[in-house]
């Protein structure tokens, strides 16, 4: 039982981690919580639905297109909205992102309707490991492999490429980044693009694991923020770790509390973190 919950948590945690990386970088660099990040996740999943189920394109192309379109919307949101608002009150830019979230969510509702959707209606038989100890579906193995590959790719990008280092530098200390001659505008655009790609991937994996609904991403927004705060705002590695912790805690909490209250677990962890160590596990001092 415990092992199964742990595995489920690992899968959910990987999805949260992917969504949280971009959210953390945006938070660290632009200094605001992007409340539309969950709905970008939803958008990515539905773009994939459009390309896969409605247009019948091959899976790899579906992934690339959905990620690219979501990245495009993310960059567009920045250019049209956030860029103009972020220098005012931080509350103004956050409320605009809440508005963007509502708009995206309702666009999805408008075009695809409220019913659950699936990439693939076929029911998968789980693979049984260790005499019933663990049941894992083929989809879930693919999810874990894909999530891990993406995380490795992100790590290589952040630690080995000039752009990746510039991103980390800007999340660390944006004024100093300007003094070193980093083109801050360009890096910001790439941060949005990367955030869009990763959150779209998270959405696709989530839909792959369960199903699509217009509120799927919004429902994960709180765990996403909890993961970011747990790991430390502006720390992509912290976000990865935080995502896994939140996912695993949420699933394993059902041993003690009713499954209906799973979302409360992420919230509780986040509040505890804010009380004990607001800068998070790997972040800078708040």
């Amino acid at each position: 039982m415990v092992a199964q919950l742990f595995l489920n948590g690992l899968i959910l945690g990987s999805i949260i981690a992917l969504g949280a990386i971009g959210l953390s970088l945006i938070y660290g660099i632009l200094k605001f919580g992007h409340f539309a990040h969950g709905d970008l996740m939803t958008l990515g999943a539905y773009f994939a639905f459009l390309f896969k189920v409605q247009l019948g394109l091959p899976f790899w192309l579906v992934f690339v297109l959905a990620a690219a379109f979501t990245a495009g919307i993310a960059v567009l949101l920045n250019i049209i909205l956030y860029r103009h608002l972020k220098d005012r009150d931080s509350v103004i830019v956050m409320i605009s992102s809440v508005g963007a979230a509502l708009i995206i969510r309702n666009f999805v509702l408008l075009f695809w309707g409220p019913q659950n959707k699936f990439y693939d209606k076929a029911i998968q038989m789980p693979i049984i490991i260790g005499d019933g100890l663990l049941r894992i579906k083929e989809n879930q193995i693919i999810i874990l492999v894909l999530a891990l590959s993406l995380v490795i790719a992100v790590h290589l990008f952040l630690s080995k490429t000039k752009l990746g280092k510039a991103m980390r530098a800007m999340a660390d200390n944006i004024d100093l980044a300007q003094i070193t001659g980093i083109n801050t505008e360009k890096v910001i655009i790439w941060t949005w693009a990367m955030g869009g790609v990763l959150t779209a991937a998270a959405g696709i994996l989530l839909a792959f694991d369960t199903h699509l609904t217009p509120v799927m991403g919004w429902n994960l927004l709180l765990p996403l923020f909890a993961a970011v705060i747990l790991g430390g705002i502006g720390s992509p590695y912290g976000a990865m770790f935080g995502g896994l912790v939140i996912g695993i805690s949420q699933e394993m909490s059902t041993l003690i509390i009713s499954a209906a209250y799973k979302p409360a677990v992420a919230f509780t962890i986040m509040i505890l973190m804010l009380i004990i160590r607001p800068s998070g596990l790997m972040g800078k001092k708040v």
Partner: protein, 232 residues
């Protein structure tokens, strides 16, 4: 090489610098001293376009600095070490230095050796995150980051601020060493006496205006200056 003419600068609608002119010649160490709130940091920041320029010119070599971008300034050999928050705390010492080379197409790894020679304590810390270092060591990283690109003019904003006494003399010695390699220095310093003692020339500011201008020695021996600004 640097020539500031009647610069007016500040933040938004608040003007802090009211028409100051200043020069740095090649090879010199020039200090800007004065009481707190006199605008010394603002003047330095205005050279790097970090504050709002309301009037005047800043000429460096053959360019007007108010009209070019930061990466262009750095490519022309201008470097700035801010007073606080002058390292990337979650990045390693090595990565901090690498970022110094950001605008260059080359990796400049040989410059790293030079910097480790200048600041030996950093050698064993190269893989450590800059935020975990002591104040003095962080200052070394901040210097190192600015020096990687082989600047011709180094702007220092209170390089000894907040440092333990042992590090103050060390850092100022390093500044002299750097100057001897051909880097011109323009620094704002709270430790006015020590700064003027090692400077070719100096400027004394008060309330956003230039009050005195002379050689370093000249300002030290100036009784008025000593009384008003150097604490007797």
């Amino acid at each position: 090489m640097l020539s500031i003419k009647e610069i007016y600068a500040g933040y938004g609608e608040i003007e802090i610098i009211h028409g100051i002119s200043l020069e740095v010649n090649e090879g010199e160490i020039v200090s800007i001293v004065g009481p707190n709130g006199s605008g010394k940091s603002t003047l330095l920041k205005s050279i790097f376009s970090l504050v709002d320029i309301m009037g005047g010119e800043i000429n460096y070599l053959d360019s007007d600095l108010t009209k070019i971008t930061t990466d262009q300034m750095i490519k022309k050999g201008l470097a700035f070490v801010p007073q606080t928050d002058n390292v990337f705390p979650t990045m390693t010492v090595e990565e901090n230095l690498e970022l110094g080379a950001y605008v260059s197409k080359k990796k400049l790894k040989d410059r790293f050796d030079l910097i480790y020679n200048l600041f030996p304590p950093l050698v064993e810390k190269r893989k450590k995150k800059a935020g975990t270092l002591s104040g003095g060591q962080r200052q070394m990283v901040a210097f190192g980051r600015a020096l990687v690109i082989e600047p011709r003019l180094l702007l220092l904003d209170e390089p000894t601020a907040g440092l333990a006494p042992m590090y103050i003399d060390l850092i100022l010695e390093k500044v002299e060493e750097i100057n001897k390699t051909g880097v011109s220095i323009l620094m704002v310093e709270q430790n006015a006496k020590k700064a003027l003692a090692m400077s070719d020339r100096g400027y004394v500011l008060a309330a956003g205006e230039k009050k005195y201008e002379d050689s370093g020695r000249g300002l030290l021996e100036n009784e008025e200056v000593a009384q008003l600004f150097l604490g007797g």
